[in-house]
């Protein structure tokens, strides 16, 4: 009889994990000596990492391509605005505003997950537009004008910047760790099965709907957290920006270029995206057009992204989510 055991974590992966842990500590200490500009840029990077990791969870693991997850970015920011208005301390509202989105995403999943692939993508987009219109009906938002999180101005700017930075760092770390743990557990095997062959997965007892729903809700909460953090650092809430399609384009770019369906890919993608933005951001629209073209070329010619290229070179994927099985005679 052949028994299977899961292979131990390879040496190289351990080095990456140890490096990531060290980076986390260094980033944690950075506000003590980093300039305000660096802290702001890194905060944005962590927000991008949260977005990329959660969108990858959805597209790379559950096979659901959404172009409407800006709905949750905007909703998270809106929730935070409303909570702060109701008297919740702003730094608590960053987390709480993101978490309550689960209550909206859960029933929503029951509806949207029944749609076919292409329909799902656009229906999510329509939903994002619908939610934006609904939010704009709230008199507090003042239609197109939007609102500012004026409460935050009461805090010392340095203290405010550093707190948001640390929260973004911790949340980004948490999102990475949670998705890693999740995909290493039972859910990981199930999503892998669904992505490879949904029908077959269903026939061996994987509840494709349950798995997809969990991932959908997680991705919604991730995007909402990115939304609250973004609002906290940008202060101004404008419905057109908060619910803008550009969020989806960014997520798509980061995940595609980094490597769809890998754990390292979206993080690499976010770092690359942030770097490009710092270097080429001044080119404005031509920079954005370039992003679109690069995303398109990656989708067509390097569908597995940078991580895909890396794993071809190394012979295997670094920190893979695929369960590596060792046959073991007993």
């Amino acid at each position: 009889m052949t028994d299977y055991s899961i292979r131990p974590i390879p040496q190289f992966d351990r080095a990456i994990i140890a490096g990531a842990g060290m980076a986390f500590v260094v980033f944690g200490l950075l506000p003590m000596f980093g300039s305000a500009l660096v802290v702001d840029k890194l905060t944005m990077l962590f927000i991008y990492i949260i977005l990329a990791v959660t969108w990858n969870l959805l597209a790379g693991y559950a096979g659901l391509v959404s172009v409407g997850h800006q709905a949750f970015v905007g909703l998270g920011a809106y929730m935070m605005l409303r909570m702060v208005e109701a008297g919740v301390p702003p730094f608590i509202a960053i987390v709480a505003g993101g978490a309550v989105i689960a209550l909206i995403a859960w029933p929503m999943a029951a509806f949207v997950l029944r749609l076919r692939a292409g329909e799902f993508a656009i229906a999510m987009w329509v939903l994002a537009e619908t939610i934006r219109s609904l939010v704009m009906l709230d008199p507090y938002i003042q239609g197109e004008t939007g609102r500012s999180l004026v409460v935050l101005n009461a805090y010392d700017p340095d203290m405010r910047r550093n707190t948001i930075y640390l929260m973004a760092l911790v949340l980004a770390g948490a999102v990475i760790v949670i998705s890693y743990r999740l995909l290493h557990g039972r859910l990981g095997g199930e999503t892998q099965a669904i992505r490879d062959d949904e029908e077959a997965a269903g026939s061996v007892g994987v509840s494709t709907f349950r798995v997809k729903r969990i991932i959908f809700v997680l991705s919604a909460v991730g995007c909402a957290l990115a939304g609250t953090l973004w609002l906290a650092s940008a202060i101004t809430f404008q419905p057109r920006t908060a619910f803008g399609i550009q969020w989806s384009v960014f997520m798509l770019f980061m995940v595609l270029v980094g490597g769809l369906g890998s754990i390292l890919g979206p993080i690499l993608g976010a770092v690359l995206f942030m770097t490009l933005q710092v270097i080429f951001g001044d080119f404005g629209v031509w920079y954005l057009a370039g992003l679109g073209i690069v995303a398109m070329l990656f989708a067509l010619h390097v569908p597995r992204g940078i991580v895909g290229l890396l794993s071809e070179k190394m012979g295997r994927e670094p920190i893979t989510m695929q369960k590596l099985l060792n046959p073991k005679r007993t």
């Binding site: 597209a59 096979g63 391509v65 172009v67 029933p107 029951a110 509806f111 029944r114 749609l115 692939a117 292409g118 329909e119 993508a121 656009i122 229906a123 987009w125 329509v126 939903l127 537009e129 619908t130 219109s133 609904l134 704009m136 009906l137 239609g143 269903g202 026939s203 061996v204 007892g205 994987v206 509840s207 494709t208 709907f209 349950r210 399609i245 989806s248 384009v249 798509l252 770019f253 595609l256 769809l260 404005g284 629209v285 031509w286 920079y287 954005l288 057009a289 370039g290 992003l291 679109g292 073209i293 690069v294 995303a295 398109m296 989708a299 067509l300 569908p303």
Partner: protein, 317 residues
């Protein structure tokens, strides 16, 4: 009050003509090539901006500009299919969505780079057509341009229908839509048919874009909203049916103008809500057919029935 309502209904129905033109292209690609082009709306704006430049910079008459622009856009559609979409379609269902949304972002920002951020309109170039109206008894005002757009929509969709039913190309398109390999075995070059369908679809989008620029202001970022309207019209009318697309467009136009009676913001929102309502109704109907009874269908969609899910998942423990 009654007159206002009647006016809104007429305007909504006429607006539906515009939606039907842009939706027909989307529907054709969806039905024949099984491809959703998320840059459809941006291509429509591209067609409009090219026409605008031909009219305002080269000084061509509007009709001549359209006559130059249409073949150009059709060629663009053909080439896009040849170089982008065919390759994307080989990569499963994820790639077409990823590629076309990337294309959309490139088009929007590229157009912004070329044409700038100003809102533009063809309204000034079409003389009195832009604002003149017929005054019907009962105080009803009927704009000449909306009537022209609606008439064009009926003609375009009718012509498309006849082309599909009566011509060799049309038969080849329908055969390929139904079974690409069997069509190949009958001597039809399925790839060329797909490219032709893409060319027609982009041409239709461009016509719609020109009409949009005639009746309203456009910017390089107007495309995504047009895609959403087109998609809503296609889904409301039922995928793969041209007549349905016209009806879907009219229903969408009606919902928007009737919603607009309540408040300006309700206009777009009510269109979205009707679309979502139709989608929910369709899912309920599928569930009803699969599990017996409307109540079961509704419960399944609302996520109330735990039994169904357990049975469906095979999770009987």
């Amino acid at each position: 009050m009654f007159e206002q309502l009647l006016q809104a209904i007429l305007q909504g129905a006429l607006l539906g003509g515009y939606y039907a033109i842009i939706a027909a292209g989307l529907s054709l690609m969806f039905g024949v090539v099984r491809f959703i082009n998320l840059a459809h709306g941006d291509l429509s704006i591209l067609g409009a901006l090219i026409t605008l430049s031909l009219v305002q910079i080269l000084g061509l008459p509007v009709l001549a500009a359209i006559a130059v622009m249409l073949p150009l856009m059709a060629v663009i559609g053909w080439l896009m299919h040849m170089f982008l979409f065919e390759r994307a379609m080989k990569g499963g269902f994820l790639l077409p969505i990823l590629v076309t949304i990337g294309l959309g972002a490139a088009l929007q920002n590229g157009m912004f780079g070329i044409w700038g951020s100003d809102t533009r309109s063809l309204g000034a170039s079409i003389g009195s057509l832009a604002w003149s109206s017929w005054y019907l008894p009962g105080g009803i005002i009927l704009g000449k341009l909306p009537v022209l757009i609606f008439g064009t929509a009926v003609i375009v969709i009718g012509a498309l229908h006849l082309m599909l039913k009566r011509t060799g190309l049309g038969r080849a398109i329908r055969a390929t839509a139904s079974d690409p390999e069997a069509a190949e075995l009958c001597g039809v070059d399925a790839r060329q048919v797909h490219r032709a369908a893409a060319a027609i679809a982009v041409g239709l989008a461009a016509i719609a874009g020109v009409f949009l620029a005639m009746r309203a202001q456009i910017t390089p970022y107007s495309g995504p909203a047009q895609l959403i309207f087109a998609f809503e019209a296609v889904v409301i009318g039922g995928i793969g049916s041209l007549g349905g697309t016209l009806i879907g467009g009219i229903i969408l136009g009606l919902s928007q103008t009737l919603g607009g009676l309540i408040s300006a913001q309700m206009s777009l929102l009510s269109g979205h809500l009707v679309f979502l309502g139709v989608l929910i109704w369709r899912i309920c109907r599928e569930e009803k057919l699969a599990h017996g009874g409307w109540r079961a269908g509704l419960k399944a969609v609302l996520g109330l029935s735990s039994k169904r899910r357990k049975l469906a998942s095979g999770d009987l423990s």
